[in-house]
């Protein structure tokens, strides 16, 4: 806690990473329900698509970043399954922020010449798997104990986010209607995305009147529970430029963490995104005004409000009114979660990789009916644990270099 809120260092070496690497391939697979698949099978399908999208073969992959909720040694079975022999391996597990957090070590490895083609990949059978979420929660009590919180049966993660919501409402007058608008805007985007899991109409009243899970959050304030897989390939800029698709350059990225447990969070209305966002913008040499779209890890409706504020799109306490004005939905001034987000598109447990994939598709102009015009700078933000770990990335087209 003593580090909070020390700014992250911004050295000339870190600044030199701006635009030095790019995402050259992305792949999605199995969003929704995929009974009959294992996690590594889903992952491999997304990985194959990402590698092909980058114009590479699996044998070209010489760097691997991956993480799993269930497996503590996950890079090894992935390496074995894909038949690769990576010179760079990162299995850092920071919950849902992992795959955004994997960027910086991969960028450093690429710059050092340790490897040329990094595959970042994820697959989860959270919805259809034989070990359901209750069984996972029970196992976690043993494998990842929180002895000062669990005796009160807090039902994580939702209770932690609900308590953060209660503080935001008490401190800033944020309303349940404003929170509901986050879910409605996400759904409005999802209705334009044929790959989104929930595409039916959703109104403010639908959200408010839905089953209360942990007050003030109803089930419609909570993300989906799906299966799914995502993957992307990161290369040095020159290699990415030679590939078949428009590169999505990494302009800036940073990761920050203050705590694990919600009871150890210094202020539930200020997340470590305030630190990771500032670091990412400093590396990119940009400000929130330069960002055309934001893909924010919306595990719960409060996330979107907190991250809009902590990343600098709104002053603290003002995101509720900002969202209520329609700003983040289709046609709004700052399109947010243009795929439908974790609330309406996909959430296999760790959503972070999907924020990057959607940002890349928007930068390329490949997003179909949901495409936002003239996107040159996109922000992707991952969240992990219970508002614990935060990782921010700012991606740009060639015009943003």
């Amino acid at each position: 806690m003593s580090v909070y809120p020390r700014p992250l260092p911004m050295t000339p070496q870190l600044k030199s990473l701006r635009g030095a690497t790019a995402i050259s391939g992305v792949g999605l697979f199995g969003n929704g329900e995929t009974p009959g698949f294992t996690e590594v099978e889903l992952l491999a399908e997304a990985a194959k698509r990402a590698v092909a999208d980058a114009g590479l073969t699996m044998q070209d992959i010489d760097g691997l970043c991956t993480a799993s909720v269930l497996s503590t040694m996950w890079p090894m079975p992935v390496i074995e399954y894909l038949g690769i022999n990576p010179r760079f391996i990162d299995g850092t597990m920071l919950g849902g922020s992992s795959f955004v957090a994997h960027l910086l070590p991969a960028m450093l490895a690429l710059q050092a010449g340790q490897c040329d083609n990094v595959l970042v990949c994820y697959g989860s059978t959270q919805r259809s798997g034989t070990m359901n979420r209750a069984a996972v929660a029970a196992a976690r009590k043993q494998m990842d104990p929180q002895p000062y919180e669990m005796p009160y049966d807090p039902v994580f993660p939702v209770s932690a986010y609900a308590m953060a919501t209660s503080q935001h409402m008490a401190k800033y007058g944020t309303t349940r209607r404003q929170l509901a608008q986050v879910a409605v805007s996400a759904r409005d985007w999802a209705r334009k995305n044929p790959d989104a899991f929930e595409r039916g109409p959703l109104s403010i009243d639908d959200v408010l009147k839905a089953r209360m899970v942990a007050s003030p959050l109803t089930v419609r304030d909570c993300c989906l529970v799906t299966d799914g897989a995502g993957a992307f390939v990161l290369q040095r800029a020159d290699a990415a430029k030679a590939g078949p698709k428009k590169p999505a350059y990494v302009l800036g990225t940073a990761t920050a963490c203050f705590n694990r447990q919600i009871s150890s969070m210094p202020d539930l209305t200020i997340t470590a995104a305030s630190q990771s966002g500032a670091g990412a913008f400093a590396m990119a040499g940009l400000t929130p005004k330069d960002v055309q779209i934001a893909e924010l890890y919306d595990a719960f409706t409060i996330n979107t409000l907190l991250f809009l504020e902590d990343l600098g799109f709104c002053a603290k306490g003002e995101a509720g009114a900002f969202v209520e004005s329609g700003a983040i939905g289709p046609g709004g001034s700052l399109p947010v979660n243009t795929n439908g987000g974790g609330l309406s598109c996909t959430h296999p447990g760790m959503y972070g990789i999907f924020t990057l994939i959607e940002a890349v598709q928007q930068l390329r102009g490949e997003a179909g009916e949901r495409q936002v015009a003239n996107v040159n700078v996109a922000l992707a933000h991952g969240n992990g644990g219970t508002l614990s770990s935060q990782a921010t990335a700012i991606l740009g087209s060639a015009d943003a270099l």
Binding site: M1, S2, P147, Y148, E149, P151, Y152, D153, P154, V155, S159, A162, M163, A164, T165, S166, Q167, A170, R211, M212, V213, A214, S215, P216, L217, Q261, I262, S263, S264, L268
Partner: protein, 156 residues
């Protein structure tokens, strides 16, 4: 200096099991610490000493968790800021779940159940009226499902 044969977590729990709630005070920086640990998270000094808190605090965040009536009905958890400046997750007993509000003044009590101590809180005013200290009251929560906001003074 002798090395304790047990970690701070076990010693903290043993005190709880005997009905005593302890937090830590760092001798180097003078700040309190909770949960207990072997290093001061504020200044990095070696294991802060276990001390008794005043026991009073303020509810800082709340949520009522939906649970089916046949499983016991709705219940709540909250964060409490002790007056010493540390925070913990716990619950307030003696009120309906939705009646536990941010800003409520509360007092800590150790509830010992099957030999295992747990810190819970009572609304401060109620605590002063409490007749028989030492024994836990009836089980907490018990808010009637679907009756949010009722039972403002819902003592058992």
């Amino acid at each position: 200096m002798t090395t304790p044969m047990q970690g701070i977590q076990a010693r903290h729990q043993q005190a709880l099991d005997q009905g005593r709630f302890l937090i830590q005070l760092c001798g180097a920086c003078g700040r309190h610490v909770y949960f207990p640990r072997a290093v001061c998270p504020h200044c990095g000094a070696d294991e802060p000493a276990l001390v008794s808190p005043a026991g009073t605090g303020t509810v800082a965040a709340v949520t009522t968790i939906g649970r089916k009536p046949d499983a016991g009905g709705n219940y709540h958890v909250c964060l409490v800021d002790l007056d010493e400046g540390v925070r913990l997750l716990s619950r307030v007993e003696g009120l309906a779940p939705d009646a536990v509000a941010i800003g409520l003044r509360v007092r800590a009590r150790v509830q010992v159940s099957e030999g295992k101590g747990l810190v819970v809180f009572d609304p401060e005013a109620r605590d002063e009226r409490r007749a028989a200290p030492g024994r836990p009251a009836a089980p907490s929560g018990g808010g009637l499902p679907g009756t949010a906001g009722q039972g403002q003074e819902g003592l058992q």
